[in-house]
Amino acid sequence: MDYDKLLNLGVELGRRLMESGAEIYRVEESVERLLKAYGLDPQIFAIPNCLIVSVTTPQGHPITRMCRIPAHGTDIELLERCNELCRRLCRDPAPVEEAERMMEQLSNCRQFPSYVLLLGYMMTTGFFALFFGGGFWDCISAALCGMAVGGCILYGQWLTGSNIFFCTVVQAAVAAVLALVLVRIGVGQNLEAITIGTLMVLVPGRALTNAMREIMAGDIFSGLNRTAEVLLVATAMALGTAIPLVLGQYL
């Protein structure tokens, strides 16, 4: 059996899982189960931006591969596909080449076109504005702000870089400035509802839910990492929203 290819298969699965936003214990468990199904005894270590997989071949030769995970979003469809593939390969391990081909096919799983994503952002912010007590026009203004923030997230990478703190400050500032402008020119009335509604797409919900789950699963290090992320993003949101409010007092 080709152990190099097998190791690559395991790392590839782990990398995809991490990039789809899975919890650490799920990544470690899936890779371990997959490699065990092929008769290996792997050692796996993962933290939010790094994955290390090591196996020893029956000849006693150790092989290790390390994979750095870049900043990523959440992709539930990819997560479900990976989970399904892992389960299938564990039940009856296909030949390595075929398994590699299946893994390749995961890359072209269904993705929404970007206008649907923009629509998603607009829907979220618009309805959250209603949720926080806005009226019809506040909903429209918040949807506009949401479109601007969604545009920043989807197309603004070249401007903001991948630093999560700076990204969030810029996005929150865009949201708050636009909300202020829309209220000043008389489209919306309820500034708070519009701003909070728009901020809801930036809120670190994913990190917050995962932080405790990781700590309880025993991955204290990853849990602390996510907790720090939550605090950082929340501070960045507050900073970004504060900029136009402070300016607005003098204008």
Binding site: G21, T74, I76, F128, M200, V201, T209
Partner: protein
């Protein structure tokens, strides 16, 4: 009747629709989006009812997170999918975005007392949320093997 409509049904509806939108952003395909939306509405209803019964809102957030946790675990078991996606999206209305906003506002206005109390309240709210969501998973993980063994 009017009070029930504006006080309970409409907020839950808005929360559901907003979460359907956010489900699209997270690339949840097919029926999954609707499941998330319904979970969000259910969670917010649990929160509103608990507040109505006179409990504090931090306790209400804790209970609502448990309701959402149970709902997501059940749905994940039925659809044989990872639970984390449903949980993240359905919890969104409860994440204290408003708390962060008001905290920042009091800080800018220089209201130190209000700033500190809102900050602590926001922390408590977020902690209640994540403990509630985590508790269901841990309890289910501990109980399910025993239940299965007892059943068969």
């Amino acid at each position: 009747m009017g009070e029930i409509m504006t006080g309970y049904i409409l907020p839950c509806l808005w929360a559901s629709l907003a979460c359907v939108g956010f489900g699209l952003v997270f690339n949840i395909q097919g029926v999954g989006v609707l499941i998330c939306g319904f979970g969000a509405g259910l969670g917010w209803l649990a929160y509103l009812l608990t507040v109505r019964l006179g409990m504090g809102d931090i306790f209400a957030a804790f209970l609502a997170a448990i309701v959402i946790g149970v709902y997501s675990e059940v749905m994940a078991r039925i659809r044989r999918c990872p639970v984390t996606g449903y949980l993240q999206v359905a919890l969104l209305p409860l994440v204290p975005g408003a708390g962060i906003y008001y905290t920042m506002q009091y800080c800018v206005e220089g209201e130190t007392q209000l700033f500190l109390s809102t900050l602590l309240h926001t922390f408590g709210f977020a902690a209640a949320l994540s403990v509630g969501a985590m508790l269901t998973t841990s309890v289910l993980r501990a109980l399910l093997p025993h239940l299965r063994r007892g059943g068969t």
